[in-house]
Structures are given as structure tokens and as C-alpha cells.
């Protein structure tokens, strides 16, 4: 068994709304090894996004521990979490969240702006961003702005952006939620290929056929892990292409 990238113990997240308390996460424990591809499923309100925000260091747990890449990140300050996000985490959102009126290349370069390890010269940074764009098959679209790209293409630019700092894990909250099924498959094929190349991917989805691209499915219910099973009949992009 490879070393775990994510080790989570008894995680809770309680939202206080005046007098009432919402226990969005209620004792979640989970271990994710390097190179895994996990799909998180579950009914609406079951705590998937809350969980993802904590894994992504956007939020802190109310209690419990979260060890990312051997470092306990559950008690870090705002700025420390920002550094972790920049360095180790690549985010892909449901609504792409690219900067409008900004070229694909500049969007992809954005995380480098806040990175300590970014290359010093513009040339090197452009080269890095272009390499990421070609990974997602958009090498020719560097100068296009989001409004000049289709939804699928925008999501692929967002994936390229998430890759630019060579993150430890890729997190995607319903990345295909705004896409039709054909485009969803395109985007999922990118994730699958990245996973094949060794990257750890965790994504949230509501659709079973999207989850089947993953290697493992974790189902949430009422802030707890209901089931945690490997995918038996895995969809493989290579097989589908030849079909």
C-alpha cells in the first residue's frame, strides 16, 4: 500500500446559525493513498462540499484531524492554508471560475502569481502554462478568453490551471455539473488520464456514470460516510474511444 496522501480522523464540521447547529460533517474518517481516484457521492446536503472544502484547506474542521502529505493541516492559519492551497491543491469548480476577459494562458498562469516556487521569467511561466494547456488538449487556444471557449473547453482550461503548480491532489466539486454528457466524458477522460499518470484525484458527482470513471466511490449521508467501495465495472476512456 502506497503512503497515504490524505489521512482524516473523526472529522466534524458544525455550522452555528444562531441557536441552531448544523452538523454538516459528523465524524468522518477516510484515508486516500497516492494515485487514487475517488468519487464522492451522496444526496444533496449530505456534506460533500463541506468535506471537499476542508480537504482543500478552504475551511477548517470543528474537530478531528486532517493530515495532508504527512503534515497536520487541520489547525493552520488563513495564510498558511493559502500557501498549502497554492502549493499542494488543484481546484476545479462546477462553474469553471475562470477570470473573464482574461486569456486562457493568463488564467492558467494565475496560481503562479501567488507561488514562491514559480519560475522567475515570463518565458518560463508561459512555457509551463502552455504545457498544461497542451495536457488538456488546448494548446492552440492560449489567447482565447473564456467567452470565446465552449463550456467543456473552459473546464479544461480550469483543469490546466489546477495543474500549473504541480499539486499533490486534484479536487473537483461537480466538475461536469454544468456540462452535457458528451462534454462530461471529454472532461472525465482528462481526469482519468491525469490519474493514470499518477495524480491523486478526488471529485464530487451526482451521476453514477461519472463516478464509474473513478477507482473508488465514497457515499456520504447526513455528514457521515455511508459506504466506501471500489468501482467494479470501471469505465475506461481508452475502451470507450475504441468502441
Amino acid at each position: 500500500m502506497p503512503a497515504p496522501v490524505i489521512e482524516i480522523r473523526d472529522l466534524t464540521r458544525v455550522y452555528k446559525m444562531g441557536e441552531t447547529e448544523v452538523r454538516a460533517l459528523n465524524g468522518v474518517s477516510l484515508t486516500v493513498a497516492r494515485g487514487e481516484f475517488v468519487a464522492v457521492m451522496g444526496p444533496s446536503g449530505s456534506g460533500k462540499s463541506t468535506f471537499m472544502n476542508i480537504i482543500g484547506c478552504l475551511d477548517r474542521p470543528t474537530s478531528g484531524t486532517y493530515i495532508l502529505d504527512g503534515v497536520d493541516v487541520s489547525r493552520l492559519s488563513r495564510d498558511e492554508r493559502a500557501e498549502i492551497r497554492n502549493d499542494k491543491i488543484g481546484f476545479v469548480f462546477q462553474n469553471f471560475n475562470l477570470l473573464s476577459r482574461t486569456s486562457a494562458l493568463e488564467n492558467v498562469e494565475l496560481p503562479l502569481l501567488y507561488s514562491k516556487k514559480a519560475p522567475a521569467t515570463t518565458k518560463e511561466r508561459d512555457a509551463r502554462a502552455k504545457a498544461c494547456l497542451s495536457i488538456v488538449g488546448l494548446e492552440g487556444r492560449s489567447d482565447h478568453t473564456p467567452s470565446q471557449l465552449s463550456g467543456g473547453q473552459q473546464q479544461r482550461v480550469a483543469i490546466a490551471r489546477s495543474l500549473v503548480n504541480d499539486p499533490t491532489i486534484l479536487l473537483a466539486d461537480e466538475p461536469t455539473g454544468n456540462l452535457d454528457s458528451k462534454t462530461s466524458d471529454d472532461v472525465m477522460s482528462v481526469f482519468q488520464r491525469l490519474n493514470e499518470e499518477g495524480r491523486t484525484v478526488i471529485l464530487i458527482t451526482h451521476e453514477h456514470d461519472i463516478a464509474e470513471y473513478a477507482k473508488r466511490v465514497v457515499v456520504f449521508k447526513d455528514g457521515q460516510v455511508l459506504t466506501d467501495t471500489p468501482v467494479v465495472k470501471r469505465r475506461l476512456v481508452a475502451a470507450e474511444v475504441s468502441r
Binding site: L58, R78, F91, L113, Y114, S115
Partner: protein, 408 residues
Amino acid sequence: MRKATNILTVAFRSMFRNKLRSLLTALGIIIGVACVVATIGIGEGARLQAESQFQSLGTNFIMVFPGATTSSGARMGHGTNSKLSESDVEAIRSEIQSVAYVSATIRTAAQVIYGNQNWSTGIQGGEVDWPLIRSWNLSSGQFFTDADNRAAAKVCVLGQTVVQNLFGSEDPVGKTIRIKNIPFRVVGVLDKKGGSAMGSDQDDVIVAPYQTVRKKIMGTTAVGVIIASAASNEMVPQAQEEITQLLRQRHRINRAAGQEDDFTMRTQTEMLQQAEQQAQTMSYLLWSIAGVSLLVGGIGIMNIMLVSVTERTREIGVRMAIGAKGRDIRAQFLVEAVALAITGGTLGIGLGVFIQKTVARFAGWPVSLNSDGVLLAFVFSALVGVAFGFYPALKASRLDPIEALRYE
């Protein structure tokens, strides 16, 4: 460094994206800064000009004119009893030791003709001491004599502007000109003196004997203004005091009974002070306009930055999610506010310089484009940007990334 250039790029890009909005936002700053630049320039130009003008009046200069003094300055009224007489002048001349020179003067304007040239100019009547009091030398010929004055002789000396307009390059001395159709012989030409603070040309003048102007041209009995020169600079206050006492006695003014003086006295120093005070009042006015404009401009910037933070909440969320710290976001919005303010400031400096040049041209002042003013205006606008951009920037930096990402 790279971060800095990038932040600047983002700031200017977002400014140019909303050109009209940015311009309107910067308008307050533009006006404020234009005021600062214009104030400093105009104030300086006016001060220099006033100084040189009053210096050019002559040394130890004292002027007495009819009419009481009011709190707001001199009232040049021609009340029934407020007249100065030739015997007042004589009394000053003979009784007051601290006065070196004195002259009755009178002034009017008239049409002057030489050959087929004619020119409308000021006619100044003065006595022999006149050029000594005004420290005004002749460039050719001579000044008229006391005998000319007593005889009301039709002689005159010309200012440079009059010479130019009537004679061109011809030598006027010995020629005859007609003032109000009366022939006058030109006996001398005055040196060039230059413009005055009010934009009038001091060289546009003809000086003739007091008696000649009073009797032949104006036909009155009253002295217009008495001008005098104290024996020395230290003696100016004494001369002032002695003239006052003498005139009170002669005009039978009982100060103890609460009677007001029916004449007003001004010294060179007082006139200079008064001019400076006026310039000061003017500059207070401009400074307050500048202050209010900068304040309004600052509020405008704050408003637009708050709008911008709200509009770009999602962008802030994205930037935070990919690793921007609070201080990165704060720097970004602060730089934007400052960029907006400085752009406004730069346009304002341009406008201010334009106003200053225009005013200077109309008033005939030398343009004193002073780099301190420009620098000050620049610093001011940057400060306004920081002061009013800080709160929106702080607000942006404190957004919660999760909520910002969810913002619709």
C-alpha cells in the same frame, strides 16, 4: 517585483475596462488636483507680480487719497467734505521734515493725436517731484519744471507705450501732440516700467504738469491723490503720523469727538500687505475647493472600489482558492485605488497647468510652473487613493473564500 508588475497590470486593465466609469470616478480628484496646482502657481505668480509692482511705485512711497477708511479697506468716495486741496500739499511740503518729496496728482483719460496716429491713454498730472517719488527716470529729454507747472504750460512726457503707438521709431522729443485737441509739446520720454498685477500697462501714460491737467484738461479744483516719499525707509511711519496729524488739524477733524478721518493713507508696505492678503484669501478659497474636491473624489473612489469588490467577489474567491493571501488581495485593490487616484491626479496636473497658464496670460503674469506644486499634487492624489481605497481593499481581503466562490 514580478508580483508588483502583475498587480499593476491587473489594476490598469480593470481601470481601462470601465473607461467612462473610471473617468467619472477620478473627476473629483482631477478637479481637486487641478485646484492645488493652479492655486500654487497662480498664488506664486500673483505674489511676485504684486511685489514687483509695488516696488515699482517708488521707494518709501506714501499715498493719500480723499475719503474715509472703512474696515474693508479704502472708500474712494467723493463725499462733500472729503477733498484734498493744493494747500494741503503745500503744508506737507513746507511743514513736514520727514517727507522728502511730495506731489499733488490728478488723473484722467483722453484721446491723443500725433499726425494721423491717435491713441487713447491715461493722462497723469503731477508736480516736479513726481519722477523722484515714483523712482522713474527719463530715457530722453527732460521732465517739465516747477515753472511749467505754475504757468500750466502745455508740455508733457510720454510713457514708452504711447511713444510706440504714436511715434513708432521717430524721436518724439520736441514734437507737438494734441491731447483733447490741445497742442502739447513733448519734452521727455519715460523709461520702460512694465506691466502691473492687474494686467494694466504702466507705460501707457502721459505725464503733464498738475496745473495744466487740472485746469486745461479737467477743469476741476480738487487734488486727486497726494503722493509723497519719506526721507528714508525708517521715517515712513513718522511721516505717516505727521501727515495724519497735519491733515486732521487742517480739516478740523476731532478724533476725540468720534469724527472719522476724511482721507486715507497707504504706504507701499501696506499696499503690499493688502495685495498679499487678497492673494491669501484667494488661495484659501482655492485650497478649500481643492480640499472638498479631493474629499469628494476620495469618496467617489471608495464607492467605486466597493462596487468593484462586490462585482468581483467571485474573482476574489478564485484568487484565494488558488493561493492568494489576504494581503495579496488587499494589495491588488489598494493598487487599483491608487492607480485610479494617480491617473486622476495626472490629468488634474495637466488641467491645473492649463488653468494656470491661461490665468497668467490674461493677467499678464509670468508663468511660474513650480515643480513642488506638481509633486505635492501627485503625492496628494496618491494619499487620497490609499486613504479611501484602504477600506474596500480590507473588505475584499477579509472575504471568506468559500462564500466568495458561491457568490452569484
